[in-house]
Assembly symmetry: C2
Homo-oligomer: 429 residues x 2
Amino acid sequence: MRPYKELTKNELLTVKAALEEEYKTMEAKGLKLNMARGKPGFSQLDLCESMLDIINSTSDMKTVLGNDTRNYGDLDGIGEIRHLMAAMMDVKKDNVLVCGNSSLNIMYDTISRSFTHGVNGNLPWYKLDKVKFLCPVPGYDRHFKITETFGIEMINIPLYEDGPDMDMVEEYVNNDPAVKGIWCVPKYSNPTGISYSDEVVRRFAALKPAAPDFRIYWDNAYCIHHLYEDTKDEILNILDECEKAGNPNMVYIFFSTSKISFPGSGVSAIASSLENIDYILSHMTVQTIGHDKINQLRHARFFKDIDGLNEHMKKHAEVLRPKFEAVLTTLEAELTGLEIGTWIKPRGGYFISFNSLPGCAKDIVAKCKALGVILTGAGATFPYGKDPEDSNIRIAPTFPSVEEMEEAAKVFVLCVKLSSAEMLLKNME
Amino acid sequence: MRPYKELTKNELLTVKAALEEEYKTMEAKGLKLNMARGKPGFSQLDLCESMLDIINSTSDMKTVLGNDTRNYGDLDGIGEIRHLMAAMMDVKKDNVLVCGNSSLNIMYDTISRSFTHGVNGNLPWYKLDKVKFLCPVPGYDRHFKITETFGIEMINIPLYEDGPDMDMVEEYVNNDPAVKGIWCVPKYSNPTGISYSDEVVRRFAALKPAAPDFRIYWDNAYCIHHLYEDTKDEILNILDECEKAGNPNMVYIFFSTSKISFPGSGVSAIASSLENIDYILSHMTVQTIGHDKINQLRHARFFKDIDGLNEHMKKHAEVLRPKFEAVLTTLEAELTGLEIGTWIKPRGGYFISFNSLPGCAKDIVAKCKALGVILTGAGATFPYGKDPEDSNIRIAPTFPSVEEMEEAAKVFVLCVKLSSAEMLLKNME
């Protein structure tokens, strides 16, 4: 196929007319598909079915240390779940607090607490004229929404295939004391699927922040969410690297089992230095008497150890791989050579990120919607919902079935082509 | 028995010497009992054993409306649990948000959100010079800790047998725009066990707050926690009363199943006007994707309806009654006529509140501790942990067994007597 931009006006008009025919055919199908959010599919949820049997009326409800999980206590999480979650992050048990069902909630609370009470004795952010966060883009809309809600100024940082633009990160963090944080999804990034290189992680750890309360918000949501057994991404341990670089308190790591067991009924955790953990606990003890320890016990007994977790993740990969490949195969078959879009083949995580010709993303999403295929809103992957190029689209292939994904991918490439042809023709006027 | 204060110095010295003998005997027993916190006992936890079977791998995991509880969604709680919790509070389903495992956490978040973002469009509290809360005393230490953490000035309001001193409440609320809230445990109050009279509830509803963002923080934690079938306290529906009085948005009601099913693994809720609920949801959607819906389903299917809940509470009452009576019987048998302490016989809830002679509470708690009986720290029932009279002691009879409670109560009255005798002798010097 020749690139669209090399076509003459007449050739493009012919292409467009054919695409419009196809569009009408699709329209007639009355599809109803949702690729908007990173929701696990039913067959993934079924993988944890037997977890619902593991705690029952005959179970010993005591932890290894003898505490009754049915009663108050263990604010920091029961020992066995802290062990398990620590193994997930390759940190020590004491560096991990296991909380409720939502790591997003821990992140919100971390920002909120910094706003109201400050970070480890520094001035609360509400007393400052300006607080800024760096936001590698494209990124996760719910991160940006939290910082936006607290009136924090967000600064876009380009995200490359090995991580954020570290020259820019260093420039901002090391010179501007208003920069208090950076949102990172370091492994199988949401939405681009890339993982940070060792050099990038080391440069993060070696930052010399102008603000003593600058923290890296390391959302390792997809830490063991590989799609392929033979091409697993591994990233350096940021907590270790920060300690080695003399910045032991500089990172908060967030993670959960939301996409391992059940979204909404999993367990979430934060890992950090002992000093940070102590500070967080000193506030958490005012906020709650404790988290759901029966559910922590359920998870600890079901997965047993890190090997149990990894085995379980292989089953998820089996389910997810064909869905990702359905999209990727269609993108490759239909768009290669047309030069109207780029994408990265992810080796894990929950998303495929697509970059259209500038100015086309919103239109593509609208066209897909008109054909019954719901995508994440264009712009959602940028702070304030504003993609300056109007180019990035996040595809979430996990929830629909493989067959539905194939259908949805066809709709998607059709809309990409039609929107691109229309845009190029418009530019010729 | 003659009142201690009518005894001569020599008589008191004789009493004291006998008590000291008793004290030594007790000391030798090496007791280890905890009456400090309102924790359910093991036999109460066992009452919900079969709840752990109700959701298993063969269960239909869908809500009545067809949503899969295993996946994301239903931020406001699944319909069936909202129905159940609404019935508990005698409000409509749409007035209830069902959240995670901790109503304390909802209260913290409500204060925190008011601090960072304000109440329904009013100025965030961090922008105000001064925020004040009224605190009926004695009250719940964890309420006071939340307001203290946010730098909110707390004002003591005497709590009588029919509720707070409403003259004082009206005086403050209707005239001082800095007064933004009042902490209430309106039924089987923590710690005194009293319930608010209809007149008190109506006077609450009829307040004319100087501050548009004044709210009543109505922690109805013990709403169905009766000890006796024939003497149940019932209070007026504050949400209805506020609406009737033209103050529809003036109250937040908090409640949970922590002391119905499992502390830490129950479900919690907030009930309020639709306007307040909408405002809360608009922030909650930034904070989390949703709460644990599998646990919500577990609770809804186990209790079925309000009758199921009430039947279950009768079983709790069977367990708790003898524990309360063990304390009350000992107090009556050992202290009646001595005029060294007062208490109220509660008809429900989790506590017995004891008022010693002024200046004795800390000493009694210390003496009990020396004998191996842990009580809630004296002063804890007051803001900033400061009981101006050093008189109030909260007794939590739920966790120990009946036999242990009998033993602990004996220790308690002994320490009350000894401390009172010492105090009276000291005053004679």
